[in-house]
């Protein structure tokens, strides 16, 4: 670095330098970076175990420098429970998509949260199944056309989009639940703050913590990256309000 210059941006060393294979404009990459920055700031490399189930982010088995477990579709909270109960000194996270967490894995996430399992879930809500090519997710908004809702999502057939943060915050087990977004630098900073609080909850042994992050899928939404960000602001954030849904004392 040239003398007199201050380094304001540094790549996190918690990510491998493997070429990321997410689509251009996908916010999975930003979320990885923010997550790793917080881990690095809190110096958690040697304690961290992340559990990655199935979705586009399965590719992340190669992206994190710290210990990683690949889990069956939807079962990450159960696998993480096993990791944590066997070795409570581990710092344990799950990184789940909305199909994974809110559809096939509903039982696992509800019960991990309800037990107050001392783990942290990063919940990436892009309102669609990315990996499998754009099917309807439980979080898909009304009217959205997808591969399996070709005429648009309809409540009488498909039910209404699930608000997971609101639902889980009704339970006694969770210590921290927040919803953030990736649509703007401001909200990305907000995401980072929320992740830090969630991590603190785990480090203090306060119970289950989750950050739901609103994200995009330009490929399967069938739009440019720019339009997809606008869609988060115009549609997703309206149905899924940002904010902290549960903060117990002591965080």
């Amino acid at each position: 670095m040239t003398e007199g210059m201050k380094q304001i941006f540094k790549n996190t060393t918690y990510l491998t330098d493997m070429q990321r294979s997410y689509c251009p404009g996908c916010t999975h990459g930003v979320i990885h970076r923010v997550l790793c920055e917080v881990l690095e700031e809190m110096n958690l490399m040697e304690k961290s175990v992340i559990v990655i189930p199935v979705g586009c982010s399965t590719l992340a088995v190669d992206y994190f420098e710290f210990d990683t477990v690949q889990a069956p579709h939807g079962r990450a909270p159960a696998v993480a429970t096993g990791v944590k109960r066997a070795a409570p000194e581990n710092f344990v996270m799950t990184y789940q998509g909305d199909g994974d967490l809110a559809s096939i894995g509903t039982a696992e996430i509800v019960h991990a949260a309800n037990r107050g399992e001392n783990i942290t879930t990063i919940f990436v809500n892009n309102g669609i199944y990315g990996m499998t090519g754009g099917q309807m997710a439980p979080t898909t908004l009304m009217g959205w056309k997808t591969e399996t809702s070709p005429y648009g999502r309809e409540a009488s057939r498909d039910g209404n989009p699930i608000r997971v943060s609101e639902m889980l915050s009704q339970l006694n087990g969770p210590a921290y639940i927040a919803r953030t977004s990736t649509d703007s630098p401001k909200n990305i900073i907000g995401t980072k703050k929320a992740i830090r609080k969630a991590f603190q909850a785990q480090l203090k042994g306060l119970g289950f913590s989750m950050v739901e992050i609103l994200s995009n899928c330009p490929t399967n939404w069938g739009m440019s990256a720019v339009d997809s960000i606008k869609r988060i602001q115009d549609e997703t954030m309206k149905y899924y309000p940002l904010g902290e849904y549960k903060v117990v004392e002591g965080i």
Binding site: S21, Y22, C23, P24, G133, T219
Partner: protein
């Protein structure tokens, strides 16, 4: 007679369209056809390829170690598949994007500046149809009129303009050799 082709390029170049149109034209002429797509992580901008067979007889194995015909739309595809052309087979090269020449003496190489020709016809996006035109002329797997019908049917939804650009692109390819 069995005519077989492997077409390869990056996602978005329309290699799957080449394969599907070849299969569709064959079926229209009451022939047997088989189309086998193979996506890399195509959704994430990787390469894609497909194998197509058109035949008067029922088709057997969809897996080939060496190909009668290979069509390479970009450089990685050329590098990967040049060696898989059978001796006496044909290699169709999109010379707009591939500036290499093949060293092989035992095959016939056809260099087609398909992107320039497609732009001439009205759209860069029709480069795949230019290649298809060249391939159709040299292998005669179907009649040109049949392929024109396929183009009309498949692109009809997108409007007259798209249809006419693609018909022009087919013509340009067909008359290139």
């Amino acid at each position: 007679m069995e005519i077989e082709l492997l077409a390869a390029g990056f996602g978005g170049q329309g290699v799957m369209v080449i394969g599907q149109f070849m299969a569709a034209a064959s079926v229209k002429e009451n022939k047997y056809a088989l189309f086998y797509p193979s996506y890399g992580p195509a959704m994430r901008g990787g390469t894609a390829n497909c194998t197509v067979v058109s035949s008067d007889e029922p088709i057997g194995s969809p897996i080939f170690t060496a190909h009668q015909n290979v069509m390479a739309l970009n450089l990685p595809s050329f590098d990967k598949f040049e060696s898989t052309v059978q001796p006496n087979g044909k290699l169709f090269i999109n010379s707009s994007l591939i500036d290499k020449k093949s060293d092989r003496k035992d095959i016939e190489c056809i260099y087609v500046p398909s992107n320039e020709m497609a732009i001439e016809a009205g759209s860069n996006l029709a480069a795949n149809i230019v290649m298809l035109g060249v391939f159709l002329k040299l292998t005669q797997f179907a009649k040109k009129e049949t392929m024109e019908q396929v183009i009309q049917e498949k692109f009809g939804r997108k409007g007259e303009k798209i249809v006419s650009i693609n018909l022009k692109a087919l013509d340009a390819g067909y008359n290139f050799v």
